[in-house]
Amino acid sequence: MSDNLMEVRDLVKHFPISQGVVFQRQVGAVHAVDGVSLDVRRGETLGLVGETGCGKSTTARLMTRLLDPTSGTIAFDGQDVTRAKGHDLKVLRRSVQMIFQDPYSSLNPRKTVGSVIAEPFAIHGMLEGKGERKQRVQELMDRVGLNPEHYNRYPHEFSGGQRQRIGVARAIALEPKMIVADEPVSALDVSIQAQILNLLRELQRDMGLTLVFIAHDLSVVRHMCDRVAVMYLGNVVELADSDALYERPSHPYTGALLSAVPVADVHLAKTKKRQILQGDVPSPSNPPSACRFHTRCPKFVAGHCDVETPQLTEKGPGDLAACHYPLTRSELAGDAIPTAAPPPP
């Protein structure tokens, strides 16, 4: 058995932009994901971070096969599932589940919580007996910290945090091998956020889950993930072990992201130098040539970065980055980036 539960190779997803009412023609494409390769190891938590429009949610939807890739391959547990259909797809669906960002729109308002959580069983023809199914659903509700007596309530009777728990219960119902969580806490208040994060970690520990955790909050990702992939405009620009990434980022974009996070520490906030990136993320329908970050990069070298596309290569132990001019130690020591505390022994 390979160490990798999922292997993604050169994944591309372009969304066509068309014009015309009757005779539609394609006038361009949004390059949402453009050549992403990564492995998800068994039992780990892999983080995907990046700003709006970097393709992290599209990657999640491709990994769960909710979207079909334009090109590239996805292998799950040694099987190529890129074009899986029918029975094969159903098997994949059972093993890979998803938790969505918005706990308000991801639950059917006309169904009771019990039937929302029981739906995976209905789809896969499991636990046919009614009493059996109800019992299992109530166990699940209890598992995620909901009152099992609320089985017959509707989603609107629950708060945001509780709804997210319902989403978690639904995702673990079939005992999947992998869960892709797309911004599971960003719609929640801080005090509730911690409850859900703790729940996810606990479930992962108890069920041996592999977790793909997507977020834009770098502190949350550091807290949750063993490895982190940083995305920018449809590419993975850095893929590293959490500790390596937060202590010595190699890609200038990662460095800038880390320095931009407001830290809830008054003393650090005073000494920290923020590195401010200029401008906004360029449009994914017309991405910059070669290294896509070159338009905002503080280390941009004309004639190289905008001509030759950098590949993901090893820049340090456990650290892959796609950059011609990675951050050096002295640049990191220049306090441009807040260095993280050493990992617990």
């Binding site: 700003e51 709006t52 708060s159 945090g161 509780q162 208040d189 801080v190 005090s191 509730i192 956020q193 911690a194 409850q195 994060l197 703790n198 834009h216 770098l218 502190s219 949350v220 550091r222 807290h223 949750m224 959490s242 500790d243 937060y246 800038a256 992201l257 880390l258 320095s259 931009a260 996070v261 407001p262 830290v263 809830a264 520490d265 008054v266 650090l268 906030a269 923020r274 401010i276 990136l277 906004d280 993320v281 807040p338 993280a340 505390a341 050493p342 990992p343 617990p344």
Partner: protein
Amino acid sequence: MSPLLDVADLRVEFTTEDGVVHAVDGLSLSVEQGRILGVVGESGSGKSVTGLTVMGLTRGRNAAISGSVKFDGRELLGAGDAELRGIRGNDIAMIFQDPLSSLHPYFTVGKQLVEAHRIHHHGVSKAASRDRAAEMLDLVGIPDPRKRLDNYPHEFSGGMRQRAMIAMALINDPRLLIADEPTTALDVTVQAQILELIQRLQSELGMAVIMVTHDLGVVAELADDVVVMYAGRVVERGTKETIFDAPEHPYTWGLLTSIPRLTTPRGEELVPIAGRPPSLINRPSGCHFHPRCPYCLPRHTREDPRLEPVAGDTGHQVACLLPEDTRREIWRRVKGGVPPEQAREELLSGQEEAR
């Protein structure tokens, strides 16, 4: 020196079909010239309503507002609409969370900026106002400002819209800026740009800023003073350093321990606050935080805590019924990694048990 803005015992209640919503309940705060006040709290804590009420934007048939809001010695709550219009957008300006829905999609950015200027400067020519608008866009860092005046909001990116909003808010040199979650809708690199901009403009123009946010990181970076709100009330107030280094209220502790940080060792367990924010229609009795407080004692469910100064620090006030030394001991332990239940067990077990 008297503070620029002095809010005393402000109450805002909205009558709805479901009952009376006590959005703000006896809130007092003050901001001095040239200071940044951070107002933190979760959704439904009344922080936004406070900002809106200072601007006179919550007036309506179903709103009952009482207390006092004094700006530079002038009472704003009783002020007439005309007087308020002279202050709003002129002396006190506001920026909102969502820059797209706060700009009018039908008019160019330039027209909206010019309008904001001319409404308070009668007799100024359109050309002069346009110059001023371009100057403001330049100030907030929008390249090629003259050309950009003729753009519509949809032609701006999220960060640029927020810059345009800030330009509009500052066009009349306000003395107080109320920023209601100004960076929540933005990406982290753009957020850093906007925070730096607000900080730079604040120090250049010497205005006072009220920064309403749920993000403790933003407060730590930007604010001078902090007010922590819960269920429409101030539960703790102090300088930024006091709030982060020596917080006294269990809710503040909860906020501080429930966020993962880049500076703590990875993998450390988060200590969330149990339960969820209360309904503002049927508020809990006694201390409003008691149903979620790990250190709640029976009398806390009956008695209402008052915001009282902490001994030895007049600028630091807290509304908590626990004795001061017990509080300090609890925080010392919880900060050191002791779970709240254990800290309660160790320090409060002798006291009557009921939760």
